[in-house]
């Protein structure tokens, strides 16, 4: 599945309107905001095809996955939007992560846990809030809001330490840029180590991670930032996205894709968007002096013009 899909779930008393953009969407937030009610309504609708007071309007079929037989039920679902309520322990299992690889569905998961086996975006973590009453039936109207993304810097940030999630090309790039002005740069060697490293570092720490897959870490990292004002987080989709966004490749098609990635990224092929951006960069740079290799950074990306273009994408961050 690819693309952005609008979903409207309605009954007499309550209505939910929201959009899903990627293969994994997570819903969390306060109790009593309607998360379980939303899943209950979809279950009611799909289990009673002969007549249900719940109306689900979407260009894809919506399903609810739950219980001990989840794996066999999942095998029967194709090109659908699959909702999973909290209380289903399988969502944090490796079996589930393996089972949804290469499926052509989108998944909407209700949970407050960080699902470390899944790669989901920092942008696709939502809460539900009531937007008031709707229509003459006094229908309560609910919509999604993004939980992260409000705490953006308005002034320039100059870190003392940069910690990257990347170990290879991304780290090589930031290490080289930071080295020019004596800023320390470390690789966390994986996103799950960033919390510990951020706590151990001195001075103002900037964490640079792949936003397309950093969702599972957001709860603890944002709580750390909330309690410790010397830690900041920068989450572009990925290092490869930064390069593509920099304009180093003037192909008009790249710009078109970056404007609406959801229209081009097939969920069965790319579990998270950073893999797509890597594949796109490899393809676009093939045979050029900027030929990209994720394992080892092409030295041409460390030339003055390339560095300036790439760090120019990092708005409000001063790496010298």
């Amino acid at each position: 599945m690819k693309g952005i899909h609008k979903i409207s779930v309605r009954a007499k008393r309550i209505r939910f309107d929201f959009t899903v953009r990627r293969n994994i969407t997570v819903i969390r937030g306060d109790s009593a905001t309607g998360k379980t009610t939303l899943v209950d309504m979809i279950r009611q609708h799909i289990n009673n095809p002969s007549g249900s007071p719940v109306e689900v309007v979407c260009d894809k079929t919506c399903y609810v996955l739950e219980g001990a037989l989840w794996e066999s039920e999942l095998g029967a679902i194709h090109d659908g939007i699959v909702f999973i309520d909290e209380g289903n322990a399988f969502v944090s299992s490796r079996d589930f992560a393996a089972a949804i690889q290469n499926t052509d569905n989108y998944y909407v998961i209700v949970t407050r846990e960080g699902l470390n086996n899944l790669a989901y975006s920092t942008e696709e973590i939502y809460g539900i809030h009531s937007a008031g009453k709707y229509g003459s039936l006094q229908q309560t109207y609910n919509e999604f809001y993004r939980i992260y993304g409000e705490d953006v810097y308005t002034s320039s940030l100059r870190p003392d330490v940069v910690i990257t999630e990347d170990t290879n090309s991304g780290y090589e790039f930031f290490s080289s840029v930071c080295g020019r002005n004596g800023t320390k740069c470390e690789s966390a060697q994986g996103k799950s180590n960033m919390f510990r490293l951020a706590q151990q570092s001195q001075g103002h720490v900037l964490l640079v991670a792949d936003g397309a897959a950093f969702g599972p870490q957001m709860d603890r990292i944002m709580k750390l930032i909330g309690e410790n004002h010397t830690v900041s987080l920068y989450v572009p989709e990925s290092f490869e996205w930064l390069i593509l966004k920099s304009g180093l490749f003037s192909d008009h098609r790249v710009g078109t894709i970056l404007k609406n990635p959801a229209d081009y990224i097939e969920s069965s092929q790319y579990l998270s968007w950073e893999r797509f951006f890597t594949a796109l960069l490899v393809r676009e740079s093939h045979g050029t002096y900027l030929e990209y290799n994720k394992r080892k950074l092409n030295p041409n990306y460390l030339k003055k013009n390339a560095i300036e273009r790439i760090i120019a994408v990092m708005d409000k961050i001063d790496l010298g």
Binding site: R13, I14, R28, G29, D30, S31, A32, T33, G34, K35, T36, T37, E86, G87, N88, A89, S92, T111, R112, E113, G114, S130, T140, F195, R196, Q199, D219, R220, K223, L224, G226, E227, N228
Partner: protein, 145 residues
Amino acid sequence: MLNIYFGPMEEAVYNTAAYFQYDYEDGWITNPEVREMIRDVDQSVVLDSGVIDSPVLGKIPPVQLSGGVKTLILVKFEKDKIFNASTCGDNCAKWLLKIADQEDRTINLRHLMDFGKDRFTIRILNTNEIVHSMKELVSIAGNFV
């Protein structure tokens, strides 16, 4: 005191809503503190032990309370069990502290619940350390979720 084990915990009841469905007792729902929890978290009014008036869903049975309130009720009355309190939102945090203020309770959290800016007392069972603020809690518990 509130004791919390952070991260996966095998002995904790994970699906608290399913547990509540066949475990709750009528008297629990009409308990004055539970009435107050339901009013505060769900903005609903207990009419009697089997009927709650929800501003959104109308008249509902106790099994249709929010997942957070159901877990709070279990934590309050099933004191020898450990429940997965990651089914509770941050708007349940003060109630967990209040329940455990009267009598010790142990819960399991798989995320970092926000217990607010006021000073509190929580024992983190993973390291057996007592913390009094979110800053202290996050620095220790963040390593386990």
